[in-house]
Structure formats: C-alpha cells, structure tokens
Symmetry: C2
Subunit: 336 residues, 2 copies
Amino acid sequence: MSAEDVVGAPRQVAVVGLGLIGGSLARLLAVRGVDVVATDVSPATRAAARRAGLSVADDVAACVAQADLVVLATPLRAMPGVAAEVATHAPASATVTDVGSVKGPVRDEVRAAGLADRYVGAHPMAGTEHSGFDASDAGLLDGVRWAVTIQADVDPARLVRVLALVTGPCSGAAVVLTDDVHDEAAALVSHVPHVVATQLLNTVVGAPVRDVALGLAAGSFRDGTRVAFTDPERTEAMVTQNAAWVAPALRKVVRDLELVIEALESNGSTHAFFRAADDLRAAGRPPAPVGAGSVRVERVPLVTGWPTSLVERCTAGAVVVGLTPTHAEVVAEGAR
Amino acid sequence: MSAEDVVGAPRQVAVVGLGLIGGSLARLLAVRGVDVVATDVSPATRAAARRAGLSVADDVAACVAQADLVVLATPLRAMPGVAAEVATHAPASATVTDVGSVKGPVRDEVRAAGLADRYVGAHPMAGTEHSGFDASDAGLLDGVRWAVTIQADVDPARLVRVLALVTGPCSGAAVVLTDDVHDEAAALVSHVPHVVATQLLNTVVGAPVRDVALGLAAGSFRDGTRVAFTDPERTEAMVTQNAAWVAPALRKVVRDLELVIEALESNGSTHAFFRAADDLRAAGRPPAPVGAGSVRVERVPLVTGWPTSLVERCTAGAVVVGLTPTHAEVVAEGAR
C-alpha cells in the first residue's frame, strides 16, 4: 500500500535515532515508498544508514525541517535534548510520536519541551535480543501491533496521522490506550517478566548447588530465564523508567508468593494458586496479533469524541486495523 | 549398544507404570534389545502397550518376579502400595529405582516399604507438555541426562546397575548426587520456575487491564508463562512434593524482589540486581547435555568409596558418561 492511499498519511516522516527500532522503521517506510528522512547522533550510524540507502540528515534540525510526522526513536535519557530541538526546528503542524516501551515518562519529557499538544505516543510490540542500526531490518516492524497512547484532549487529526502510519505503510494494527493503561499492561506482560527472569537466574547464580542446578536445567529454566540473557543494561533502563507501575505489580507478586510459601511450609492448600488462571489455560496461550484480514470488522465513525471511544474499545481488547475518510476499522478480539 | 556390552547391565528390567516417562523408557529399552516387562494399573493402558509391541504383565507381581532392575514409574501418591508389592514379589537381588522429579520423598516411601537397601534414585531430565502412554516415545529418553541419587551406604553394585542402564541402553549421562542436592537443584531450575510462571499468569488474570495486557503480550510473557500452560495439577504435585526445598528458595526470591521494589520506589539503584548474573551471561545460556563424545573424559576407578567420590565430582558439575569393568568415565563440564 503506498502512503498516498491512506487517509491522513504523512507526506514526510522524520525518524530521529537509528537504533534497532528507529532503523527498522526508517527502512520499512522507505521500502513502502514513504518520504522518510532519518538522523542519528552518531556519524558512524548515519554513514551506515546512508550505505543502506536511507535519506539521512546530519542533524535533528535538518531532519525535521520539512516533516509532518516526527518519530522520536532515541533512548529516554536523550529525550529532553532531542525534544527541545524538535520544538525549535519542526513545523508547528508536525505531529510528534515515539517508539518507546514506556509512555508516561516520554509524555512528561515532550510536555517539558512544549510539544504536549503535538504528541501522540506509540510503542511497536516488536524487538529482538540485539540492538543498534546493524540489527535493524525492514521486516521487524512489518505488520506488528502497536500501542498508541493519547490524552482525552488529543487533536483528532494528529491521532489520525499516527494511526495512518501504523495501519498504512507499516501494515500494522493499533491499540489506542491512555498512557497509564499502557504502562500498567506493559509492566505486567513485559517488565515484571523481565525482573522475574533476572531473579530466576540470580537465584541459581548465588546457590551452593549452582553447578549441579545448571547441569540439570531443562525447558522450564531455559524459557523462564531467556530474557535474562539479553542486555541487562537495557532491561534495567526499561524497568526503572516504568517503576511507577512495576513496583506495585511486583508487590502483588511478592504477596501471592508469600501465600504459596506459607501453604508449602504448613502443608496447606496451593490449589487456588495453581488453578487461578484456568480460564486462560482453556483459551490457550496468547494469540499472535490479529491483522486486517480478521473477521468481525466494526466501523467506528470519526465523529466528535471518537478518540475516547477508541480508547474505551481498545481497553476492552479491541484493535484498530484500518482507517477510511470517515471511520476507524476495529476488530474485537472477544473475551479471553 | 546392546545390553550385553555394558558392565553391570540388567538382564531383565521391570517398568511399573506406563505414563509418559515409564512408557517412553519401556519403549526405548525394547528398541535397544533389553528384556523389559512392563505393567500399569489401567487395563486400557496395558492393552495400548501390548499393541505397541511391549511385553506387558497383568500385575506388579508378575511384572517384577524375574527382574533384576525394577523401575517405579508411578505417581508419588501410588508409591506406597506399589513399593509394598515390589517388596513382596521382586527377588531380593533386584535393584529398585524410579523416574520421579523429586528424590527425598520417594526414598522415604521406598524405605517405608523395606526397600531402602535396594534403592538407587533416578530422574531423567526430559519431558513434554503432554502426559500418558499415548504421548510416550522411545526417543524422549534417548541420550538425555539423568540425575542418579544415592546415600553414602549405597551398595556399589546397585549403583553400577543403574549407571549401566543410563549410560548403556539409554545412551545417556548420569549426574550422581545426594537426594538433598538433587532436590534443592530441582527446586531452583524447575519447581521455582514453574511457580513463578504460574504467578506471572495469575498476575495478568487478576488485573483490571487483563485484556489489554494479553493483547500486548510479546516474547517475554510468552516464554515466561509457557510452563504455566501445562497441566496445573501435575505442576502442583511436583511443587508440593518438593515443598521442603521450594519454600526456602521462594523465600529467597521474595527477599530479593523486595529489595528491587524498595529501590524502584525510592529511586535507588537496581544495578546490582540486574548485573548479579553477569558471569553466567558471559558464558551463555545453559548448554545441552554433554554426551559420551565430549572431550576431557576422566576415568574414576571403582575402588572403595567410589560412589562418594562420584557424588563429590558430580556436585561440582561433572557427569558420568560411561562405565568399564574397572572405571567410571567422567566428563568435567568446567566452571560456569
């Protein structure tokens, strides 16, 4: 699908930061015929991106000057400086989005730079165990699910622009949420699992029976610790950025585990613990993201209040799979 | 390798219980030309085993009457009755072993039946998400690593018999351990990971953002909860049977997580937590079991005290990969 076919599609996209995600997005947009200009703070990365055939600007100012959609793809710690440059050099009409795995803290940075009115948050649900432009690939973000986060007073035209990017040239689907719901959900299905995987590994490392334990390790340990073998610095950054939601979720984990321990120590029942998720077991493991080919497409009219309506539907499990001039196409996933 | 080539190999093996593991062991031994007689409490399972070409006895008494190695492959709850029957009907010279995932409680049952002197514990490190004879397969236990557990006063000839089974017709490798070291290690690399996987799933099930969270779930959640989607009844049985080691290991998990929570809540450092296992990360994920083809084979002479010597080496990470009339062949895995 070319960019022109999509309602509200951006004319020119600026991608600021060419790591794994920024690089993959720039490559995908280029493949799909979108006018994309990218930049990175590293001259070596800019050179590599030019060799890969991308259109590369030497600095943020040149990168964003003509853009109507700016994608911030830098680490959170670089966000204040980059956001300030975007505020200075991007057209006021340009919508600003990002690709970070935590949304509330990014909005705080963007707001501090005076970009609050132009910002719609975004988080593509994809990644690999590698990082950097060398690991980027046009296929990584092709057809994946994105979380898109807004506030109630979002400019609907800016939401359209980001949804158009996701469902158009990226061939993806979007779950429209508040920052808080996104960040709580991400804590549960990503950040807490990363902490727990790290803890499983730490428990063995510190044990007197460490060597025997590693020698006996089979599937449950290998799966349970897989993400603990990825870059711990990146994991720590992700977890600490979402501390506000990770900490209470971990408190719940600790409370539940204490009940299990007490039952094990007193020969009490652990039945409720092991059966609490039986309905999910019956439904099977979480499905792969639905695509536009899914059945039961519902058309949500783009009338006053439609962003809030999308948030309500998506918070209950629906996914935006397409846009028309007058409607958002929504797929309901059904109760799981 | 035929059974006759192996030092101390059993002439006839009785397999009592034809679930996933018992069935797979009986099939593998039959394929390898071992004289194996099997039985199961279920007539339907016995019929299925006969259709699969196995030699099947109608009851425990007939199954074990001529055996010189009896493998108890029943659930722990059936162990008291089965062990009593074995004590009555098996020759006194027959060695008794098992395939359970927890060793101390099995030894307690076997001791109660008067079989303590004849028992050597065993636990093959293999399994699938399925169970029952229908899921059994000769390949499941072919070439896998076994934990073999003994007490200091073990009859060396009985240990030889079990090691011969593992390293001979099963083409496997054995880690010789005390029950306690096995059960502690199994708690760390299997039972605690199962509890934690269950908790990750339970945390999402009970959350208000459940549907969004499942919709956003990617690799870390899918891997981290994989074993929570297996039969929860079997998981609960495994965990509660090893409560003595699982409970303190979970206490350590809870203590460590509380430190992480406190750091997250106070903007403190989580660096030590995320870097505690860096040496393991540098070494890479746990390797697949070594086989007999591995280099650096050391020959441990079968002289007075050799079982204890094997326990010491295996507790430090070594693996028994073969037997000769005078030596055990041991592979050192090196520090990890």
